[in-house]
């Protein structure tokens, strides 16, 4: 039986055309180093710049403003530490939110241990940051604002453009982690008013192990990985050309196919929502509208998430849970707690994330398995009593 993969947030399958592009590059014996001055190096440089242009086009940026990295996590680390170190003389205050991905939260925590001051802005029950709170938090010595575009656990989309206008007026460097959103919903660096933006290819049917950081012209930041002239002195190391080829193709396809993909994802989202309505005692997480089309997070009361995930896996349905028991640290998700959900309900949280390779029939099958596991586990739960 073919597994139904509803964990696209952890990584998308490769788009067939991305696969082809990578295989084509391998078959043409692509190995040249773009930095080399000879013709084989030049050929590689051409491929690298072509991919860069495609990524730039996806987010309405200039190709010179795109730096390839190894993943979204590296991009986030680069943006945050890069600005913090480059502007330490100007100030040491950073503003962030309390629902950021660990690859933003942890570097900022490290900086706070190094003497930087951090203000963490809270979110409302939908996980949305209030731009007025960000404005209030800005001080004389604020050097960086880092607020994510879309949340990876609950899919909520933040008012980035409004925060961008505030950052611009107050002349504070603004970074957004757009790993979840970029390639899936329209992302325009000028409209959003961001100076730095993190992107990962495996979120839009490109390969894992390749990402990019958008760096607006004249933004001051130090390189995270030092030691070479690659990427215009901003990211040292021989580029991952297989990844670059894949990411370029994936970006091109994302731009062209986005309207069609979004239509499909919204159809699936409606299918998920309709079916969720037929199970009692379900709590939806995140904002009903200002949310990613390809992700639904919900909590099933009276049962724990890991056991649901395991049961669904047995039925050939791959999903993700945000229960503390399934996390390595056994801690409840900081995102769910930030939205005010109680710990016990958070334990039963599942995330369905789907993509263009999923059909409504797959959602039906997944729900068949979900209903079965919910009934089975609730019957076993000491917290659940019928009627």
């Amino acid at each position: 039986m073919k597994a139904i993969y509803l964990d696209h947030i952890s990584g998308n399958p490769l788009h067939p055309q991305v696969k082809e592009a990578i295989i084509d590059y391998i078959q043409k014996d692509g190995f040249g180093n773009p930095v080399s001055q000879h013709s084989i190096g030049d050929a590689a440089m051409e491929i690298l710049e072509d991919a860069r242009a495609k990524v730039a086009q996806l987010i309405n940026a200039d190709p010179q403003e795109i730096v390839f990295t190894s993943c979204g996590t590296e991009s986030n680390n680069h943006a945050i530490k890069g600005v913090a170190f480059a502007r330490a003389k100007k100030g040491k205050h950073i503003i962030t939110s309390n629902i950021e991905h660990q690859s933003v939260a942890r570097p900022i925590r490290m900086l706070s241990q190094m003497g930087y001051n951090v203000t963490s802005v809270s979110v409302d029950k939908y996980g949305i940051v209030n731009p007025a709170d960000v404005e209030k938090a800005i001080r004389e010595d604020t050097i960086l604002i880092s607020i994510m575009h879309a949340n990876n656990e609950i899919g909520t989309i933040e008012p980035i453009a409004e925060i961008g206008r505030i950052a611009k007026t107050k002349e504070v460097t603004f970074h957004t982690d757009a790993v979840v959103s970029c390639g899936n919903i329209p992302v325009d660096v000028d409209e959003m008013g961001v100076d730095l933006m993190s992107i990962a290819a495996n979120q839009f049917y490109g390969p894992a192990g390749i990402g990019a950081l958008y760096i607006r012209e004249k933004t001051r930041l130090l390189p995270l990985i030092d030691g070479g002239v690659q990427e215009n002195n901003r990211r040292a190391g021989t580029p991952n050309m297989l990844g670059v080829v894949g990411m370029g193709k994936a970006a091109e396809l994302a731009r062209v196919e986005m309207p069609r993909r979004t239509e499909h994802l919204l159809k699936l989202k409606k299918a998920v929502m309709d079916r969720l309505g037929t199970i009692d005692k379900i709590v939806l997480n995140g904002h009903p509208e200002k949310s990613m089309p390809g992700l639904v997070s919900f909590s099933v009361e009276y049962i724990e998430g890991e056991s649901m995930m395991m049961m669904l896996d047995e039925e050939g349905v791959s999903i993700s849970t945000r229960s503390a028991c399934a996390s390595g640290s056994l801690r409840t998700s900081h995102v769910l707690i930030a939205t005010g959900i109680d710990h016990a309900t958070a334990q039963g949280t599942l995330v369905f994330s789907y993509g263009i390779d999923i059909a409504v029939e797959d959602i039906d099958k997944a729900f068949e398995a979900l209903r079965k596991s919910v009934a089975f586990l609730r019957n076993m739960s000491p917290l659940y009593k019928k009627g």
Partner: protein, 185 residues
């Protein structure tokens, strides 16, 4: 998957699920906040566990532990059943992941509580139904000189609501909002 084959078997086909009506003893441990909660009910006949059932809210490990401990206790004398330990349950399951050894391995505790409850009922010590709000330290061991966190086994100088080492709640409470709605019939 991080679990052994025995764990997966007990998780997929849990034995002895349910609640015994008019049980001779009931044992309840854990709370839904940290993700695991178990209730074990027993019937006793001639000092042996004649019937045993469980209800569990928890992860795969917690369910497998509950199923295994009920299998191990069935038919045993009360004394033998009191000798079933967390370690022997984990061993019978072919081992548990390290991070689940404490938090999900509450089966033996629930069983011992059910047996203690049986003795107490026999001596006429306890009420049949519990009060709505009962706060009891479940990390307490015999002698009561010292408390232990049920999750990481760290000794606590005095009963505290949260473990000083791992931060987990050490109290068993029945006044959680989720319980209020669920328990009312």
């Amino acid at each position: 998957m991080q679990y052994s084959e025995v764990v997966m078997d007990h998780f997929k086909k849990p034995r002895n699920v349910g609640t015994i009506e008019n049980p001779d003893g009931t044992g309840e441990v854990g709370n839904p906040i940290c993700g695991d909660m178990m209730t074990i009910t027993i019937k006793v006949k001639d000092d042996r566990i004649d019937d045993i059932k469980f209800n569990t809210f928890g992860c795969g490990a917690a369910i497998a532990v509950s199923s295994m401990v009920t299998e191990m206790a069935r038919g045993k004398t009360l004394e033998e059943a009191m000798n079933i330990t967390k370690e022997s349950v984990a061993k019978s399951l072919g081992g548990l992941p390290k991070n689940k050894l404490h938090c999900s391995n509450l089966g033996a505790d629930a069983l011992h509580k059910a047996i203690t409850n049986y003795y107490e009922r026999k001596e006429g010590k306890v009420r049949e139904t519990r009060e709505v709000v009962k706060v009891e330290h479940i990390g307490e061991r015999e002698g009561k000189e010292k408390c232990y966190c049920p999750y990481c086994d760290t000794g606590l100088p005095e009963p505290a609501p949260l473990c000083t080492r791992c931060g987990k709640p050490t109290l068993e409470r029945t006044d959680f909002p989720i319980l209020k709605g669920a328990k009312k019939e």
